[in-house]
């Protein structure tokens, strides 16, 4: 199904900002809020996972239900998960399309990746403090 993909700040994402290697930030930014009707149509339940494919790529997200989200749109907080989907086109303005991007959404059993996995997928190298 095609959805309009929207991102934005949330206080959970905001509080996680200062400790992005912690689990709270990962939880806060990998959640995809959808209208309950859309969940039913996708035949999934809150807490299950979807694959979202947009102009920037594909990412697996955990789903949450929210009546505040209009049908046909999904909301993902600003962060590395949202950015795996958003493209780098700025229309000559310097600003990517963080709002109102079209994405294809389908249910999946794949796990939600960790942030380190996302960063390694683009060529980075995870830094693991506990090993040091």
């Amino acid at each position: 199904m095609t959805f309009l993909f929207n991102t934005g700040r949330t206080s959970a994402q905001g509080t996680g900002l200062e400790h992005k290697s912690g689990p709270e930030y990962r939880e806060a930014t990998s959640v995809c809020r959808m209208n309950p009707v859309d969940l039913m149509q996708l035949e999934i339940e809150a807490g299950e996972r979807i694959r979202a494919a947009g102009p920037g790529g594909v990412v697996v997200l955990r789903v949450a239900a929210s009546d505040d989200i209009p049908q046909g749109t999904v909301f993902v907080p600003l962060g590395p998960y949202a950015n795996a989907v958003v493209g780098a086109e700025t229309h000559g303005t310097g600003m990517p399309d963080y709002k109102s991007v079209e994405v294809e959404v389908e249910p999946t059993d794949d796990p939600v990746p960790t942030i380190d996995q996302l960063m390694e997928a683009v060529g980075g190298l995870a830094y693991l403090e506990e090993e040091r």
Binding site: T93, G94, M119
Partner: protein, 431 residues
Amino acid sequence: MIHRDMICPFCGCLCDDLVITTEGNEVVQVDNACTLGTHKLMGAWKNRLKNPIMRDGGEWRDASYEEAIEYAAGVLLDADRPLLYGWSSTQGEAQGLGVSMAELLGGVIDSTTSVCHGPSILAIQEVGHPGCTLGQVKNRADLVIYWACNPTEAHPRHMSRYTTYADGFFLENAFRDRKLIVVDVRKSETTSIADEFVKVKPGGDYAVFSALRAIVRGRADVVPDTVAGVSKEQLVRIGAMCKEAKFGALFFGVGLTMAPGKYKNIRNAIELVDELNRYTKWTLTPLRGHYNVYGSNEVFTWMTGYPYAVDFSRQIAFYNPGETTAVDILARKECDACLIVASDPGAHFPKACLEHLTKIPTVLIDPMHTVTTPLCRCQIPTAVNGIDAGGTAYRMDGVPIHVKKFMDLGYPSDTEVIGRIFERIQEVKHP
């Protein structure tokens, strides 16, 4: 120890009434701050990167400041088009050094503005900015509009310090006398307390502003029955409310700057406010995110003439967002080295940009292990401004405030580290 009237280094509200209690090197209590600020202040002495780190092939290793600074300077000096990005969560003094360094190197310097309120600046450059300081809104505004933003979550004290819940000198019962209109594509906590909630279809803000402008100037006749999901009836009602107000204040967020049309949405908002000023008093203020992103615009402007996205390749400042902005440069693979200061593109840039960051020598100056850490080749930890470093910051309305240091954890400040990198560069460029 109790520290009073402390400055919160989180969002553009730059609250300056915090009471912070410390015991040794630990923050034990924060009063007056919102959850976001409290969380940052309570946790910031933890989670710090202990020392500089560098990548050797597939391994991370610890490094000395000396070695890391040497490496950073070398990488920047070797580059044909270095990008110096970030600058929002640091003090003005470091931002100024960054500009001088970009100038001497012949690099591009950009701040997080470009993925935040850069479009607002582009709009202001077309039509100007009818604004004011936040105290002016607090004392006078009897109508407040929040458009495409969610202050309850992103700027939690905005409403209590400056708008809905604040006392106002000219308002007898400020809470009752102030009307609130919220415009957004979805319901949020902020919409639930509004006198009027206007639900706009995604991408429809521009059309709604145009319609309101026509209505305010008495040309409702041309406006169709619904505009981007909003009934003409509601638009006419809102137009009347806006004209009847004695002092109106429009605040807007990245919901406008990131939506299709980008800066044209803001331009239309400004022109609506200009139009309203023919009838009564109106002001407009972008809700700036990082506590000192506005400072980066101020410093860049007096030094280079431009608020962000400045290209010094030819030793002359050149500015053209869309061309000289970080996302475009990275996505087009146009830079060959990158210095990131006090920001986290790993968390906020599209994937294509991150791929390029990993392919070029990228140096990160940041106190914490962030999402960007895995993408760089070297990270240098520094003190956090407003905690163990001090310096100047500019509030979202342009009021400059001295952000205060209240503890020392032994880290150098951004200003010191960048100053040392700059010294190395000067040794080569100005022998």
